[in-house]
Amino acid sequence: MNGDQAMRAHSSSLPGPTFDSPAFVTPATLASSTVAIVTSAALHTPEANAFDGGDTSYRLIDRSRRDLILGHWSPNFDRSAFAMDLNVVYPIDRLEELAARGVIGAVAPRHVSFAGNQPDDLSTVRFDSGPAAAAALRADGVDVVLLTPV
């Protein structure tokens, strides 16, 4: 079993919260939507506070930044690809290209980073930091979010 198979088997065995009445938002057309990325790679800028192990907070990343650090604490995934091309985790240049071509309406001015390794009950991201990050993106006029894991 290689590293990815082992991690997928482990992750599949973890409990996952279920949602009784999940919301389902029907967006306007993609061509008129402002799009943001939300990643669980614990990305942060050099001057921003790094993520602690078990960190439940988030960082807002300005659209212009490319000098990002992969702050995730797990050694169990391929960390090298991000150093080769950040778009493989955080496809910000691809969004800029889609906006230039009119496929999406606009690239959001700020994007969001969480740490994927959360405490098991996930209560903070569900009821505190997650809604706060969503409110920040709503204030920026974001219509659509792409979520990228590592």
């Binding site: 079993m1 290689n2 590293g3 990815d4 991690m7 997928r8 992750s11 599949s12 973890l14 996952g16 279920t18 949602f19 999940p22 919301a23 389902f24 938002v25 029907t26 967006p27 993609l30 939507s33 939300v38 669980s40 790094a50 490319r66 000098d67 702050g71 604490w73 050694p75 995934f77 391929d78 960390r79 090298s80 690809a81 991000f82 150093a83 080769m84 091309d85 778009n87 493989v88 985790v89 691809r94 290209e97 889609l98 969480f114 996930l122 569900r126 997650g130 809604p131 969503a134 993106l137 709503r138 974001v142 219509d143 659509v144 979010v145 792409l146 979520l147 990228t148 894991p149 590592v150």
Partner: protein, 229 residues
């Protein structure tokens, strides 16, 4: 990720998740998910391949046309995580008076610097800077050879963060040392743990700390769970 999708959707934002663990995505049922059976750490599939990344995004954004959810669709491409070995030449021994791993860490510094300058950023720096890597490796050599980890004065005081810094230093330097195409998934992890002196030292130090009876939090995350000497 799927939990955050529910949270953002409840706030009025439409979401699309790039799923990496299909069973968990089925369990948590986000409104829209594109499952990507790609190597972990590469949710857009392939670094340096804008065309493929755009293909992933096109599949993902197409899910926004679904009238109701949850929607779970598989990307048609599967990328295996077995990597071909990279060709990555390490510098020859320079100072035979140093432990091989320490000499090696010093030897790749210029390669690391070139990559850091090119990228404008480095993931080294959680607890030590690049200049401190050789001394940190020396501490791990001592532990691997029997020194008590509690008195070995490991820089930074956090084995997980320290080992991340050392591995980032090596994997970033490797980007200047490899020849041929971009390294495949886990290819640099293989190179680091199987072909560098320091990778082997980290595994040996982890074993020594574990065998000393330390709590798992001290040693478990020093290297991938599947790695052993």
């Amino acid at each position: 990720m799927s939990v955050l999708a529910h949270v953002f959707e409840a706030a009025g934002i439409a979401t699309v998740v790039l799923s990496s663990v299909r069973a968990m995505t089925v369990k948590t049922a986000p409104p829209r998910a594109l499952h990507c059976e790609f190597p972990l750490g590469r949710p857009l599939g392939r670094p340096g391949d804008p065309e493929f990344q755009h293909d992933v995004l096109a599949h993902a954004f197409a899910l926004l046309d679904a009238p109701s959810g949850p929607v779970l669709v598989d990307h048609p491409v599967v990328i295996e995580s077995e990597a071909e070995q990279v060709s990555c030449t390490l510098p020859p021994r320079f100072d035979p008076g140093l432990p091989p791993a320490v000499d090696e860490a010093r030897g790749i510094r210029r390669a690391y610097d070139r990559v850091a300058e090119r990228r404008g950023v480095s993931s080294v720096g959680r607890v030590i800077e690049a200049a401190e890597v050789p001394a940190a490796v020396a501490s791990l050599v001592a532990i691997a050879e029997g020194a008590d980890w509690r008195t070995a004065e490991l820089p930074g005081g956090n084995t997980t963060a320290l080992c991340h810094d050392i591995r980032s230093y090596y994997e970033e330097a490797a980007l200047d040392l490899v020849t041929g195409p971009l390294p495949g998934p886990r290819a640099l992890e293989d190179w680091y743990f199987e072909h560098t002196e320091t990778g082997r030292v980290v595994l040996a130090a982890r074993d020594a700390i574990r065998e000393s009876g330390a709590k798992s939090a001290v040693w478990f995350y020093m290297a991938p769970a599947t790695r052993s000497l």
